[in-house]
């Protein structure tokens, strides 16, 4: 019994040593693999080209967007204020992601004939496939493309060169190969990107005209973290393609078309699909309805006065209240439909990781369609809720606060972030499964 116990304990010790050694070897191999991949990437001409492009585009984007922000800030400061006007300053985070800030950051007023109105941002829509060259553009278009360039030949390249068999002849599992190669590519892509963004943020912090506070920097940090998730998603997509296709050129071709669909196709198609589900009345129709509300009430009052009906002060008050309440009803009805449109658009666009990222990024920066809807509701509460004959001084002050970080993450953004993370996990599992079944021999 004693002897058996001794043999068992010896075997256990040996096993533990073997396992520990195996773990150590695997860890060392993993480290070696990452370092080798990073060395190879850094020495390649694609790293040089991609880094140059990323740095130049980040700098160009920051400078253009900072000038744009300063112009809007100067406009906000110069706006001549009436007591009943509501003016919203531009959001400093719009330098990174502009979203709907041109619509949010302006001054508003109310008239019974027109409802609530503000200056037309006069954006020249339709000039291109993106509206602003901000950081969102750099991440969704440039970084995703660079990610594909760093991953399209991760496996197929090794297979073509005949080195894949050699790599796998070591004590290294296939999941570690995928993980190591993807991580190395991710680090190589992130170095020039994070470096140039940090440099520009430091320069921005030195600029007194841009009031960047600690919460702003926190949001920016979170944005960069979510960006890592988007980039890794595209890296894994590239890895999958490099496993499926035996030739790197075929893998790259397929990936480029897929990239166009994911970056420009699905996000652009989603509002049209959503409009098919929600019928939103045209602006022309709504403006006409608003004018008709006002004219109808006034004309009916004039008819009544002609008939000899006395329009007391109270009845005039009732008339104006009825105009305001009808305007409010029109606004709420339209806004409800727009909310549904935004909701469906978000969910359709989440078929693409770029769509998920756009929803999360605009929400995080406080420039999304929901932030704009919040402002519109606050304006409606303020203007439509006011007593008609109350003097301006007696009315309740306008109150609107941008969403807190948690609230911003309550709606579509949580789903977007969740879907993005699930996509990462799924793509890794797909890549691993494909790699398990892959033929590693030279083509």
């Amino acid at each position: 019994m004693h002897e058996r116990w001794g043999a068992w304990s010896l075997a256990k010790q040996v096993m533990q040593r073997v396992i520990l050694k195996g773990k150590r070897v695997r860890r060392r191999m993993f480290r070696e693999l990452i370092l080798k991949e990073m060395r190879d990437n850094v020495r390649s001409s694609k790293f040089l080209l991609a880094s140059l492009a990323i740095i130049l585009l980040v700098i160009a984007s920051f400078h253009t967007m900072r000038a744009d922000y300063q112009r809007r800030l100067a406009r906000f400061s110069s706006a001549n204020q009436n007591p009943s006007d509501v003016s919203i300053p531009p959001n400093p985070l719009s330098i990174f992601v502009k979203g709907r800030d041109e619509l949010i950051g302006r001054s508003f007023r109310y008239s019974p004939t027109r409802g609530i109105f503000g200056p037309n941002p006069m954006e020249d829509h339709g000039v291109g496939f993106i509206s602003t060259p901000d950081l969102l553009f750099v991440i969704t278009v440039v970084m995703t493309l660079v990610a594909l360039f760093f991953s399209f030949d991760l496996i197929s390249g090794e297979r073509e060169a005949g080195t894949l068999q050699l790599v796998l002849s070591n004590a290294i599992s296939r999941d570690v190969v995928i993980l190591g190669k993807t991580l190395a590519a991710l680090v190589c892509i992130l170095i020039p990107f994070i470096g140039s963004v940090l440099l520009e943020v430091i320069l921005l912090m030195g600029d007194t005209s841009v009031p960047l506070s600690l919460p702003h920097l926190g949001r920016l940090g979170l944005l960069l973290l979510v960006s890592v998730s988007l980039i890794s998603c595209f890296l894994l997509l590239g890895t999958c393609a490099s496993i499926v296709f035996s030739r790197s050129a075929t893998s790259l071709t397929a990936l480029l078309f897929l990239w166009a669909v994911l970056v420009f196709g699905i996000p652009n198609l989603s509002p049209l699909v959503a409009e098919r589900l929600v019928g939103v009345p045209s602006r022309d129709f709504l403006l006409q309805r608003r004018s008709q509300v006002w004219v109808k009430q006034v004309v009916e009052r004039e008819w009544a006065e002609r008939r000899g009906d006395e329009y007391s002060r109270r009845r005039v008050q009732e008339m104006w209240e009825s105009i305001v309440s009808e305007n409010r009803r029109l606004f709420e009805d339209h806004q409800r439909k727009l909310d549904r449109l935004v909701h469906y658009t978000d969910y359709v666009s989440m078929l693409s990781p770029v769509g998920c990222y756009q929803v999360v990024a605009t929400s995080l920066m406080g420039v999304g369609p929901r932030d704009y809807a919040d402002l519109k509701r606050a304006l409606a509460r303020y203007y439509y809720g006011r007593a008609i004959d109350a003097s301006e001084e007696n009315t309740a002050p306008f109150s609107y606060h941008r969403r807190a970080l948690r609230a911003g993450f309550d709606e579509g953004a949580v789903t977007g972030l969740g879907v993005l993370l699930v996509m990462n996990v799924l793509l890794f599992l797909i890549a691993y499964t494909l790699f398990l079944k892959a033929d590693v021999r030279r083509v």
């Binding site: 200056p119 954006e123 339709g126 000039v127 996000p267 939103v280």
Partner: protein
């Protein structure tokens, strides 16, 4: 005369059986089908909304058309432009002020239309077909073999350029044909001859645009030794040309050419209006004191308003002129991109570009003047017939013409598009000349 072009034939045959060509063609056809489906629905929705707006206006005018408040409810409404079912229409909302009732198009600016199909997918297919046209042959060592025959490198490049262009344009021709058949068979769409000619011209511009990207690919392929570097360089250039530069024009022009913000202009307009109101009020009081009734006084004091309205109109025109200058600068900056030139040229030809918005504004202004004149005359004749007729009385406007939008004639659309077409041709020629010059210096030996 038989034309011997073995490289062209080889290029066509190789290209047609390649994976990238097959996947590109399939993707273009599938995207075109989705594009036509969603855009037709959107077009239908806008058309229905237009008819509903007209019907509501008519019903309201029959009951509440008062001389004094007529113009607030008797306005021009614009139907969707005929070609907007293929290309996204710009919202003709050029008001200084904008109410909170946004169009969904304002909330989600970029769209999914033929510009997207050709601008993104088509150009991507062009560079994917072109990136290894020369560098690939060199890597495989076949360029040295081809040039060992009595074929000059310039001829090789020209034949490859021709073959590649034919391959690139093939899916476009297919998509244009299928779309044309669908439009012709659809009873909801009534295109006239002018629209079909415009569509043909648009298709030709798309072909030139695709050729620009193929030639760019050829140029890079001639100058790079390795195909992998060539495709990376091309992709980055593609991002710059297709996405970055077109979006740079507007923010840069706003910084380079500063104009007063609309809030300031609106405030100045409000001040003028306040001055007018107080002048009119003073005049009414004066007339009432001189023995006129309140209504007559209000009627007669209208003349006072004219100089104020002229002043406000001048201010508005001045602002619009400055805004137009700023937009012109933005367009010139963006015109460094062939994509922008293609979008502008095709939008102009389709009657949905900047010049069509100007045309629309002019048409509405003309109609407004006509209606003002007719209403004024009608009021005068009603006053003659019935001296007690006042501004609050009903006025029948059933005989006053409604606004009917007539699209710009094709010749004007062509005039607006011709600069951009010229720029596209200039890019194409410049890139081809550069590629031919580079072809003389190609080292044909494999690495």
């Amino acid at each position: 005369m038989k034309i011997e072009a073995p490289i062209l034939k080889k290029e066509l045959l190789d290209g047609m059986v390649s994976f990238r060509f097959t996947i590109g063609v399939i993707l273009m056809i599938v995207s075109a089908a989705i594009c036509i489906y969603v855009r037709f629905h959107e077009y239908d929705q806008r058309l229905n909304s237009y008819h509903l707006t007209l019907a509501t206006q008519q019903a309201f005018l029959e009951k509440y058309a008062h001389a004094n408040r007529l113009r607030a409810v008797f306005q021009a409404h614009v139907p969707p432009r005929r070609m907007s079912l293929l290309l996204r229409e710009l919202t003709p909302n050029l008001d200084l002020m904008q109410t909170l009732e946004d169009d969904p198009a304002d909330l989600f600016p970029p769209s999914f239309d033929f510009q997207w199909l050709v601008g993104i997918l088509g150009s991507l297919l062009a560079i994917v077909l072109a990136y290894d046209v020369i560098s690939g042959e060199r890597e495989r060592g076949t360029l040295a073999l081809i040039s060992s025959n009595s074929v000059s490198l310039t001829r090789i490049v020209i034949e490859k350029w021709l073959g590649g262009n034919l391959l690139t344009v093939f899916p476009l021709v297919l998509v244009v044909l299928l779309t044309s058949i669908y439009i012709h068979l659809n009873p909801r769409v009534n295109w006239v001859v002018e629209d079909w000619v415009a569509w043909l011209l648009i298709a030709i511009i798309y072909a030139i645009y695709l050729s620009v990207f193929f030639t760019l690919g050829l140029l890079i392929s001639c100058s790079m030794r390795r195909s992998s570097v060539s495709i990376l360089t091309l992709s980055l250039l593609w991002v710059l040309a297709v996405v970055f530069i077109p979006s740079l024009g507007l923010p840069l022009s706003k910084v380079m050419k500063r104009i007063p913000p609309p809030e300031v202009v609106a405030q100045q307009l409000r001040t003028i209006e306040q001055e007018r109101e107080s002048a009119v009020r003073a005049r009414i009081n004066e007339l009432i004191r001189s023995g006129l009734s309140a209504e007559q006084a209000r009627w007669s004091s209208e003349v006072i308003s004219k100089p104020y309205w002229t002043k406000a109109m001048r201010l508005r025109q001045d602002y619009e002129r400055q805004l137009a200058d700023q937009r012109r600068l933005a367009r010139w900056i963006s015109a460094f991109s062939p994509t922008f030139c293609m979008i502008q040229a095709t939008s102009e030809l389709a009657g949905i570009g900047a010049s069509s918005v100007d045309h629309l504004t002019r048409s509405i202004d003309e109609w407004n003047r006509l209606v003002d004149d007719l209403v004024q005359r009608k009021i005068q004749s009603l006053q003659v017939a019935n001296p007690s007729f006042g501004p609050d009385d009903f006025i029948d406007v059933s005989d006053i013409p409604r606004f009917i939008y007539r699209e710009q004639p094709l010749s004007s659309r062509w005039d607006a598009a011709v600069t951009y077409i010229g720029l596209l041709l200039l890019y194409e020629t410049g890139l081809l000349v550069l590629a031919l010059l580079l072809s003389r210096r190609i080292d044909v030996r494999p690495d």
